[in-house]
Subunit: 318 residues, 4 copies
């Protein structure tokens, strides 16, 4: 099945179910259309004479991947879509050479997921009950995840339209991030950075990577799209940590824009859900494979040999 | 009931009634869509590491409020929506820790409104019959309002689509404003400032505060949205008077944009009507409470501890 | 009947008739929507303290008018709308204190129109048969028109969608314009100036006034809206000739934008047709009267005492 | 039949057939609407006093044409529309004084097409099987084409929505282009240049002309419209090779914009298909004739005497 059809079928199926509302955005849903508008500002500077076939493989923070396209942190509503959904996603991502990233709640079968062999990252929320948060951090490490992610942007919980979804969260302080850093023996990623200030504090707290993200329009309304703040953040980061990005990326062309802005990995949320809802494991694999194929074609034609060598100059701003 | 539903239900109910046309804008109704476009230009610079829970309480010109979200000057069509509508609004605003602001005509039960304990401001129009205007000023002061507001922008009356609504008005001169200033023993607010010139004259006339407003699209067509002129006005005001704003603010995110541009209070018109029409007193209270909750969440996550300490830098212009 | 309704009713009635296609624009009809977009870029800088009631009377090139809102050059399809339509329009405009401007073909009853007492301007096209053109110039002067207008922009005829309407025209040279100047003993207006070059040549040819116009989208596709080129033209004109403007002006607010850009008069095309089609003579008078009323209200509130004293600073660009 | 109707009828007929999907764009089809948006940014600076009737004839790389409007490289789906479609197109273009440009697959009746007397250009794709590519180059030269075109932008094949159409292609190197240059004894055009880099390399490889093109949205998604990169390219080219352009040009006004940006010829894709599908040979001729007529009218009125003397200053950017 082709990508357009896969997305449409997956969305249609999800919308017909009681979990369909999880596709909605926070409050006015401004971000959902704004994300697209920002992505649409950029076109590509084709440079195809002497082009060489691009490769998409990359090694990020010790993880070997066949593609810079990975899963964005998410658990819900995967088990509701298919009972063994998380495992199906894990196997699909492994087959596609991608990375699995779980969210809230921490999957009960996290160990089983890790055992599939897919590289796994797992997020925790800044639960107001900090002890519970640290317990979760310990648990996911014990399960053997490669990266621990902390959602710094969930400090006021999450929200869909007018409904609070996770209200038991509180903002994290720099001191708390340092404590987390000590508790995490694997790679530590801070997710939800949207400003220089938070980027610098993330580095100072010892993070290995940051995810520039507006949390898929599930925290605050009227957050910018990551591409609006990436340059600001890159200037402050100066290569000291790995930068990842997510937010409305749907096609290989979108992914290359994220890379051109300095991201090393681009995360997918809804495309994973659509693929899974539409045809299960094969659907998820197809999403990653098809987008990677789209990405590779454009990379080749704009003169980007591999994801680590993308020049911002490939973009035409308009 | 949630905010989105409350607005929709309230608007639907009002539109079905003969007073529904009062929701229309002046002439081409350009402002109604333009207001939204201007508000949509701004997103927030999230700074959430080390964030502290924000508070929304504020003290403005001697009035203690639990929220910077107040009612915009309005009487009509509240009594037409519900017979005791103004009193219901008063009680709802008191419960929400907000401020009530009446408009034209001056409510007959103004004294009763004041007696609910809600802080009350009351507007007068620049009636061509100046004696009548001064009589109104006296009457509303006698009722015990905290602030007297004068609508400098109604000097050509008000208008809805092609229909003149209040035609018996004339522009006020600086001299007349000074006379008004002498007659008003409480706080004096001039409403409808949209330029540096009028802001400076307002200060010179002795106003305590100004409302930057395009009058809810009920005076002149093609007035700018307040955010388009706020910087200009702030530069001239230099903190000498309190600045308030209204015009299409619908959610907590909109309110924070108003505050970021230098407003101390943000006024609501239609949301009050929608809340009242939908479920009465509880609806109005819910509007203020829900928007204040939205506001507080974003304030916390962008590093604004309280309404008096908002930095323009929290906005990303786009 | 109110303006919005008048326009809608008039347009509906015309569209149902075989002459309805005359409301269409040239080729892609880009200009029809573009005109509105350009007009919508500007809002007003309200300055209402110390405002004085504006007056709209003006004296332009020896003609005394009650309003700067006049008819744009047009004959067709007025006689098709109502048999004595041109006379009805003449009487309506006289009653409204406006100016009548006829176009192609030169009305057979031009003398009768002049005899109504309305100030009349009459246009000629740059007919390839120059002798015929000069004959027309003589005839309209003999009828007693106040101004002779020459459509310099019809040098490639006129066109509606894909259909050529007036194909027997050729561009005019500077020399020919000088000959026309000699032949015209009354005021000479050149219509269809959209560049500095043509403005300067118009002055050099001895024109008394120019009309900045994209010909109501009936000559060439993708012409700019007059407001896009007015500043350029004003800089070259330096007050040496009177500047008029037309193109999609529909409300008093639009007219004031035209004046703010330096125009002395603003012309109406379709609004005249709509008013006539909807209710005849009263409709045309109402269009001018209602727009003038709208204009006067805004003029008053932005500090413009009369049409000769409009400052560009009243506009906020956005 | 008029142009608007011809386009509509042609598109409707094609859409009803199984070849209709060939009108779709690559992946998200962003380019299809973006092309129009970019073309719509420009209006014309009319300079009509002293205007002279423009002519559209031009001599480009040894080919005498009555119009700068030519066919864009295309074979498919012409034979599917009408069995002898390519020959009909050839005769129509000859009658209109235009140029025929064939694409993939190389028409079997190329010799017959050349024999109609229309000047013919023929493209080859950068087939991964380079020997096959060189065979094609030889064959089309033997058929007597005037120009050989090479699609440098098909190095990743072509694609419609999610479907790969020509997957057996690989990017060309500068060395290979030099080999092609040696093999081509007639005029050599490189098609699909969208950057300075590729323009310079094209010149260095000995090309006589380049086509700035996003390949009608059939290669990569999110390519810019040619007008976005023409200035950049012109600065690098400095007149050393002939520049042509295509991409969403539909009317004479669009063509003049292409010329104003420095193109010598403007290519049409879909308009040719629409004309052919709607009424066959006469339709194609009518498309060229009607657009040329539109072009000539505007050229005349903006002061462009012939296609070789177009000044960028005729455009107003907005």
């Amino acid at each position: 099945m082709e990508l357009t059809d896969l997305y449409r079928k997956g969305e249609d199926l999800l919308r017909q179910r009681d979990i369909g509302f999880l596709l909605d955005g926070v409050e006015t849903e401004f971000s959902l259309t704004h994300d697209r508008r920002v992505l649409d500002r950029y076109t590509f500077r084709q440079q195809c004479i002497d082009a060489v076939e691009a490769t998409t493989g990359c090694q990020i923070l010790g993880v070997e991947l066949a593609t810079p396209i990975v899963m964005s942190a998410m658990t819900m509503p995967i088990p509701a879509i298919r009972e063994k959904g998380l495992l199906e996603v894990a196997r699909a991502l492994k087959e596609a050479g991608s990375l699995m990233w779980t969210g809230t709640p921490t999957p009960k079968d996290l160990q089983e997921i890790v055992d599939t062999g897919v590289p796994v990252a797992a997020n925790v929320k800044p639960l107001t009950d900090r002890k519970a948060m640290f317990r979760e951090i310990d648990e996911i490490q014990e399960a053997g995840v490669r990266w621990v992610g902390v959602e710094i942007d969930s400090g006021q919980g999450t929200k869909i339209r007018d409904r609070m979804m996770a209200a038991n969260c509180s903002p994290l302080s720099s001191k708390e991030l340092q404590k987390i850093r000590k508790r995490v023996s694997v790679t530590l990623i801070l997710k939800g950075v949207l400003s220089q200030g938070d980027a610098v504090k993330s580095i100072e707290a010892g993070a290995d990577g940051i995810v520039v993200s507006n949390h898929g329009a599930h925290t605050l309304d009227y957050l910018p799209h990551p591409l609006q703040v990436m340059d600001d953040i890159s200037r402050a980061v100066k290569g000291r940590v790995v930068i990842m990005v997510d937010g409305g990326f749907r096609r290989g062309s979108d992914v290359l824009k994220g890379l051109a802005f300095g991201a090393s990995l681009v995360g997918l949320g809804k495309p994973i859900l659509y693929g899974l809802a539409a045809v299960g494991r094969e659907g998820v694999r197809e999403v990653i494979k098809a987008m990677t194929h789209e990405l590779r074609r454009i990379m080749t034609m704009v003169g980007v040999p591999d994801p680590s060598r993308v020049d911002r100059e490939i973009l035409i701003v308009d």
